[in-house]
């Protein structure tokens, strides 16, 4: 991990606050995250866990009322993104780090043809328009759009939802980025299309030698696609580890309850489904001890006094829970 070439993205001690009329929302607290070369890292968590704030921090797309703590660092291929000038940032966004958004309907401009939207991305390249269009057509072919050269003239509404997401993936990979961030890329799609898109992304990342940060609340997709998993809850990373280790030997009570809630994991048919009682804490007024303690069925004395640090289960698996320290 110290070898710079093994790591594409390294987030250390990232804390982000939002200043609002109601008070300071402590959206992210001490987040550590590493994306190694050619690996797919999944971020899983429910609404409000800070997944979007995390990826927006990596691209420095946070709203104006956000305050990033001084101690935080986000290092992409040896360069500190948080200290970058706007010009350097423009060089990274869309070129070295690109993104696939949730909704392919709104990610594309409805009044500009696909061909123009794709060649626009290549504005920096010293290349003739004909070559740019050839490159765009080639990318469309690679993501499985039939008859790509002719379809460059078409507009987004002339494509189905699945095809639009394929186009977004083609656009994201056009500049051969080192890191692809995918924010719930299949939520708007049907399950058969979802499976197709996931397989496509996996194949393309391997082919282009690109790492991926895959954000989802769907545990099935995370298990299917990712090499490593980061579980977030209320602005903290509560557990992270290698995918098999995490799914088979989850340690944090929240991770275990989240896995138990997934109806796809419940073998026996049952009418009464498990839930996680209580609700996510108010991020303006945080509980004193462990962030999950108010909802945790396994809490004991130390949990309500102080917040747990991150403890190692093994070399590839870390958990923020006192039970692991005391085990």
């Amino acid at each position: 991990m110290n070898n710079r070439h093994d790591t594409v993205l390294e987030v250390r001690d990232l804390s982000v606050d939002f200043l609002t009329g109601r008070g300071t929302v402590r959206a992210l607290r001490h987040v550590d995250l590493t994306v190694p070369d050619n690996r797919i890292v999944g971020i899983v968590g429910e609404s409000g866990c800070g997944k979007s704030t995390l990826i927006n921090s990596v691209l420095r797309l946070l709203a104006d009322n956000a305050v990033v703590a001084k101690s935080s660092s986000v290092v992409f291929k040896g360069r500190d993104v948080l200290a970058m000038s706007p010009a350097d940032l423009r060089g990274i966004r869309g070129q070295e780090i690109s993104m696939v958004f949730q909704d392919p309907m709104t990610a594309l401009n409805p009044v500009i043809s696909i061909g123009t939207q794709m060649t626009d991305i290549l504005y920096r390249l010293d290349m003739s328009m004909a070559d740019k269009r050839r490159l765009a057509a080639d990318m469309l072919g690679q993501v499985g759009i039939p008859d790509p050269a002719r379809r460059l003239a078409d507009y987004p509404h002339q494509f189905s939802g699945g095809m639009r997401q394929r186009i977004c993936i083609a656009m994201a990979l056009m500049m051969n980025p080192g890191l692809l961030i995918a924010d719930e890329p299949t939520t708007a799609l049907d399950v058969t299309l979802e499976a197709q898109i996931i397989h496509l992304m996996k194949d393309l990342c391997a082919r282009f030698g690109c790492s991926m940060l895959f954000v989802s609340h769907n545990l099935g997709l995370i298990a299917e696609l990712c090499d490593e998993v980061v579980v977030m809850y209320a602005g903290e990373v509560v557990e992270q580890g290698e995918v098999h280790d995490l799914f088979h030997r989850a340690q944090h009570p929240y991770t275990r309850m989240l896995l138990d809630c997934d109806p796809a994991r419940i073998e026996e048919k049952r009418r009464d489904l498990p839930t996680i009682s209580g609700s996510v804490p108010d991020l303006i007024d945080l509980p004193r001890g462990c962030i999950f303690a108010p909802r945790c069925p396994e809490r004991y004395a130390p949990c309500s006094d102080s917040a747990p640090a991150t403890y190692d289960v093994n070399a590839v698996h870390q958990v923020r829970c006192f039970k692991v320290r005391d085990a």
């Binding site: 399950v191 058969t192 299309l193 499976a195 197709q196 099935g220 896995l259 796809a264 489904l273």
Partner: protein, 337 residues
Amino acid sequence: MPELLNVEGLRVRFRTAGVVKSLIQRLTDPHIDAVMQVSFTLNEGETFGLVGESGSGKTTLGRAVIGLVEMAEGSITFNGTELRGLDDARLRVIRRHVAMMFQDPVASLSPRKTVRNIITEPFHIHRIPGRQSGRDARKLLNLVGLHEGFLGAYPHQLSGGQARRVGVARALALEPRLIIADEPTAGLDVSVQGEILNLMNRLQRELGLSYLIITHNLPVVRHVSDRLAIMYLGRFVETGDTDGIFASPAHPYTLGLLAAVPEPDPDKRRDKLELEGEIPSLMNRPRGCEFHTRCPFAREKCRSEAPVLRTVAPGRMASCHFPFPNPAEAGTSGSGG
């Protein structure tokens, strides 16, 4: 169990072009069939699941049952009364007994009304006097497990799960016998999803409700529905008992749908996909079996001859020339190929 709803040979058509456009484009028939030849029965206290991808006609079918879209052919009988040709006044009386929970928990609530007004609005619409009181609103909120402090709240102040509960409360206002729930868990977190489904289950037991659940979420429908219909291009391609269908699907499309759901276990990754391609357009239905363009098992007969929905095992119907055999009768070798 007595029969509550019976749908026979239902067809719903939408006009895709007006007179002028049809003349210009030389369309011989400017209609699409959103729902075709659909028949099913829902018994009292039962949950029937309608499953399909976008554009399969499941929402249109649900809306036709409550009379929100007109039927072109067929009949719908609710509690012994034929709905076809019923005038508005009599349809309104029937509609008291059928409630709808719409997709998207927050967007289906009027943003400028308070929770109190939202859940008592059915009383105004159906001109039921004396029921707009705060007491009825509080009773409804209680029933769905919400604190009465929410009475004055607006939809934007609610979380997804709370908004869904308000949707359930509104559906319950007129004490219906049937609730049509369109994607009741879409957009909710997994931990909240369970809460809503448990609430619906409890209400079913306490109030003797029947549910028609419209969803694309197979893991959810497996736990909540007694019987199931799988829709493709507006038709039922397979119907039967939920456990049976999940254990051994008869139609290749059902098999493909089940296989497309990723298992939350990294040891069970799939190396191949069962279903390639996308749903064809309703304007341009494939000849023969309408699924043959995506079916990995399609043979010559499938390309020329359309299968009919027929009984393939006790209590199970499928529209496929070569359905998978029932493991109870044959081996698990599968068919097709």
